[in-house]
């Protein structure tokens, strides 16, 4: 199971970087979403996956080897919420930029560089 998810993480990073390098701001944002999901999966995988066993049941733990580690799941939950907030802000910023300039082209972003 880990190996499949590891490949998925790789594919998501590749897709994310590809999208980041496109000229459209919207595609750039999609690239950010891919990459943040890949990162979330990576953190989720960091403790390994133990199939069919929750972290806590009734507060009783018989064998600590047979339960899954709850910490990465908690970390990922926090990271997903933060990611959501940032994506929403980015989309709002993109909308505002489009409203002011009427363009979605990253090559037009040269005003502040020279």
């Amino acid at each position: 199971m880990e190996i499949v998810l590891a490949i998925l993480v790789g594919v998501l990073y590749a897709a994310g970087v590809f999208m980041l390098l496109r000229r459209s701001i919207l595609k750039f944002i999609i690239g950010i979403i891919f990459m943040s999901n890949a990162t979330n999966l990576l953190v989720f995988l960091s403790a390994g996956i133990i199939p069919g066993s929750p972290a806590f049941v009734d507060g009783v733990v018989e064998n600590t080897k047979s339960i899954s580690d709850p910490l990465p799941q908690a970390l990922v939950l926090t990271a997903i919420v933060i990611g959501l907030g940032i994506i929403v802000f980015t989309l709002a910023l993109k909308y505002k930029y489009f409203y002011l300039t009427g363009t979605d082209d990253l090559d037009q972003l040269q005003q502040t560089d020279n």
């Binding site: 953190v43 403790a47 990271a79 300039t101």
Partner: protein, 494 residues
């Protein structure tokens, strides 16, 4: 000690108060009151640290490696004090220089959330918690940089946001790998595990991700492009706030991580850090010399000066680290002050473009004096703070026989001096060009407008005059970083 949470709690309370306050005048008064309170608390906590050693607090009563720990040692304490001083100066400055057509009081909400994220980053002892505080800081800085919604600001905001988001993702990925390898995210616990485990090949994958992530935040050599593209777009108050505080958090995180637990493979890392430090200094200094916009020159200068702080980390002796920390404190104060003065010059002349400015020395000599203090401090003229900071760093470089970086550091001082002299000549000495102005510009600035800059200037002078006393503190901070046993014991066995 429960009071350890106060640097985070106070800004949080003021965020809530300021959301409810609708009058701009009251929001200003409350903000000034809040930053003074923060300064007093920071000084109080630091004096506790000097008396009782490292302060720790485990949140929610969970014991150290499991729960989130807040830690204040010498380095955190010093950073808290300096950032509170800057927050106070910015709060005073904003009363005159935040001039949005409406809803100016909203600035203070995000101002305090930035301070909260900053203080959280300085006090936390947990890697994931540091990530969360970085995001808090980042979100508020996104809002601040685009506040006002001018076309240029949105554009600068997009660039700022793009690179910083990638940095955050690398941070999170490095954190995930670190947890997979060690099974803990508590910094002291990590240090305890890694101090005996020298398997550098496994750790380097995480270390490089953290290094790039913090490198983007700190704007070191190949990763700084977001900084000069965005820092000159927002209101000058916000530029000054960012210039003083944001990049230094990245440097602080580098200091913390690369002294506490990424200490395997020192030869390799210190060479990389020194090379990057050298390029950062030279590139920032040279890029600054081609521009004529004051804010641009000063933005590139931030990058140049980051190189000196990172150099302290790269030499890695107690003296060098102490010099790096001293330099960081001096630079936060002096750099913010130059931005404040740039705002005053623009208020008197209506533009930041140096070729359209002139004759300020005759017009308002006090502004000239206020510019000279931080400019000379940055260039390293004795008796101001920058001289001692550079002196300690260069002495450490010579003692460690790192000749190249020491040479680069000395010569970059010339570049700094050159750009400061350029601003001085163009803005203050040159005759004012006769450009008919549509706006009515003031001939002099009021005392209230000058006050924050006077405050920071006096601190720069005081840091020069009382350099030995401050150096003792930074040396103690450096010793705590080099010998992390106290830190580890303090967190895990408390």
């Amino acid at each position: 000690m429960a009071l350890t949470a106060l640097p985070i709690l106070i800004p949080f309370i003021f965020i809530i108060i300021l959301i409810l306050v609708r009058s701009t005048i009251w929001a200003r008064r409350i903000a000034i009151f809040g930053t003074i309170l923060l300064l007093l608390v920071s000084v109080g906590l630091f004096s506790e640290v000097t008396k009782r050693g490292i302060l720790t607090l485990t949140m929610g009563g969970w014991k150290a490696p499991f729960g989130i720990t807040l830690v204040i040692d010498y380095l955190s304490g010093l950073m808290l004090i300096v950032s509170a001083v800057i927050a106070l100066a910015i709060a005073l400055y904003s009363t005159k220089f935040i001039d949005y057509p409406h809803k100016s009081h909203r600035f203070y909400v995000f101002f305090f959330s930035l301070i909260m994220g900053l203080n959280g980053s300085f006090t936390t002892g947990d890697v994931f918690n540091l990530y969360v505080w970085f995001e808090v800081m980042l979100m508020s800085s996104f809002v601040l940089i685009t506040l006002g919604s001018k076309k240029k600001q949105i554009e600068g905001g997009i660039k700022y946001l793009a690179l910083n988001l990638i940095g955050s993702m690398l941070f999170l990925a490095g954190l995930g790998l670190l947890y997979g390898k060690t099974g803990t995210l508590n910094m002291a616990h990590l240090a305890k595990i890694l101090i005996y485990d020298q398997q550098s090949i496994f750790m380097n994958t995480s270390a490089i991700l953290f290094f790039i992530a913090f490198g983007i935040k700190a704007a070191v050599f190949p990763l700084f492009f977001w900084l000069p593209a965005s820092y000159h777009t927002p209101n000058i108050t916000i530029s000054s706030l960012f210039a003083g505080l944001l990049t230094k958090v990245g440097v602080y995180a580098l200091f913390r991580f690369f002294t506490l637990f990424f200490i395997q493979d020192q030869q390799f890392w210190h060479t990389i850090i020194l090379v990057i430090a050298g390029f950062t200094m030279v590139f920032g200094g040279m890029a600054a010399s081609i521009y004529y916009d004051t804010r641009r020159i000063l933005s590139y200068h931030i990058i140049s000066q980051i190189g000196y702080m990172v150099m302290g980390l790269g030499i890695f002796s107690p003296l060098a680290l102490a010099g790096g920390i001293f330099f960081m404190m001096h630079n936060m104060i002096a750099k913010t002050n130059t931005f404040l003065v740039a705002g005053m010059m623009a208020r008197l002349k209506g533009t930041f473009y140096l070729k359209d400015v002139g004759g300020l020395f005759k017009q308002d000599p006090l502004v000239a004096v206020l510019f000279i203090i931080p400019a000379f401090a940055l260039a390293g003229i004795p008796p101001l703070s920058g001289f001692f900071a550079k002196f300690v760093l260069i002495k450490a470089g010579i003692e460690a026989e790192q000749w190249v970086i020491t040479m680069v550091a000395v010569l970059t001082g010339m570049l700094t001096l050159y750009s400061m002299i350029k601003i001085w000549n163009e803005a203050f000495l040159k005759k004012a060009p006769e450009i008919p102005s549509e706006k009515r510009l003031p001939a002099k600035l009021s005392l209230m407008e000058l006050l924050p800059s006077i405050l920071l200037g006096l601190i720069s002078i005081a840091m020069g005059l009382f350099a030995p006393q401050i150096f003792d503190f930074t040396f103690e901070a450096a010793n705590q970083l080099i010998n992390p046993i106290n830190y580890i014991e303090g967190v895990l066995n408390n």
